[in-house]
Symmetry: C2
DNA sequence: TCCGACATACTTGTCTAACAATTTGTGCGG
DNA sequence: CCGCACAAATTGTTAGACAAGTATGTCGGA
């Protein structure tokens, strides 16, 4: 219609949304390290926004599990211990297992999942770890979204922030084994296509279990090596 | 300790929390009917609070599914159609089914659940429908919480607001069958105590299916009787 | 030297006031 | 009867301010 002075706003149309996205990226990519304090005043200073805006942003991040906050205390980026990793993956398995079961019953393999898997392989070839992590998240999110349940997707989204957080921190150690991951993803999709709910669920649970074990192994191994090393 | 001028604040220590609780009760009990608009200015006028406070309250209610809101539009109490009821109960079943499975594996019957069941029977005897609904919610919440997974509980909480909403609206029709409900609850607990995950899950799914069918039946029946009647 | 109480600084919770941007409703004219 | 422009209502965001709570540091006493 009117080719007037309208600007295309790729920004999420809302100041708070944009803030949230930016802060989310920074936390996930490890730019803001676990244990680091994030005050409202700091956000105000870094982005030139008003304090209520920063406050709303921190509240959203807290709701997504990317920040921890109590009463009148400063928000901090959480460092998940072993118990919380187990809890997180139990919740994750509950949702995704149900999702792939339903998908197998319907026999519908989501195109978005195949798409994400291709992107994973491309990122692996280019040794682009951030995109590899992102594509992996998208693969699992695509599975859940394909069920078509708004509420299942919302519940999944509620915990995937924390999952992303653990993987982002994990990425610094770059000990992922992309070949195994690709094979496991393929097995899940194959079981869905074959219409075998039990097999799909089992493949998924094994896949998640492997990821969980890697995280736990790193977490316990890091216990005495808290400080980041400085030299090679 | 100074026994000074400290007042005992039973209110949830935060203005916004108190507001949220009050509004939540009013929406669930049907005082604010589905389809009714809830502007920020209205909340400001009714509670004598500042607009930012009211805004934060509405945002929380929206996150809990008790209000629907888009962009610059006024928030409204949602009326769930059949498709959304099915979606809601699919999500609910996913969580609670997993919970009772895990409980049966551990063989631990939560005391809070038995407690809630007693309260249901008492409310039924006194024909106190609001408390009956509340105790029923607490029964199911107790099952999930007993698993001990913070994140599973949070996901459950995310959708139970909407469940409470449907039951609150349902309550006006008072067509629940308390005897059947008590028997179904008992069967679930028995299966958990017996350590039979599959049986517990099946009992639970049947129970939820029955509740869902009642809601759907009412919803389709109400389709042509939209307006509330004025006379007896 | 060590421990505890008080004072101070920092951070968050909430309010008042205001302006900007967007949606919705209404009335006029074609 | 339909479309367009204007006006009202509502929300998004900002600024500044004060109160309340927490954490920290210092000082005095044992």
């Amino acid at each position: 219609m009117s080719a007037g002075p309208s600007r295309f706003t790729l920004a999420p149309s809302s100041m708070i949304d944009a803030l949230y996205e930016s802060m989310r990226q920074r936390i996930i990519n490890g730019e803001i390290t676990p244990g680091e304090k994030v005050t409202e005043a700091r956000v105000v200073g870094e982005y030139a926004v008003a304090r209520p805006t920063a406050k709303a942003c921190l509240e959203r991040l807290t709701a997504a599990g990317l920040l921890h906050r109590t009463a009148h205390r400063t928000a901090v980026v959480p460092e998940l211990d072993v118990a919380e990793i187990l809890d997180l993956y139990f919740a994750r398995d509950s949702i995704e297992r149900r999702a792939v079961q339903r998908l197998a019953e319907l026999g519908t393999v989501p195109a978005a999942a195949r798409n994400a898997q291709e992107r994973i392989e491309r990122a692996v070839a280019e040794k682009d770890f951030p995109h590899q992590v992102e594509a992996d998240i998208e693969f699992h999110t695509a599975l859940v979204d394909a069920v078509g349940s708004k509420r299942l997707s919302r519940m999944h989204e509620l915990i995937m922030g924390e999952v992303h957080l653990t993987m982002g921190q994990f990425q610094a150690h770059r000990t992922t084994e992309p070949r195994t991951v690709a094979a496991e993803h393929g097995a899940i999709l194959a079981a869905i296509e074959a219409g075998d709910p039990a097999a799909a669920a089992n493949h998924l649970s094994r896949h998640l279990r492997a990821a969980q074990d890697r995280l736990v192994a790193r977490s316990t191994g890091d216990e005495q090596a808290q400080e980041p090393r400085v030299g090679a």
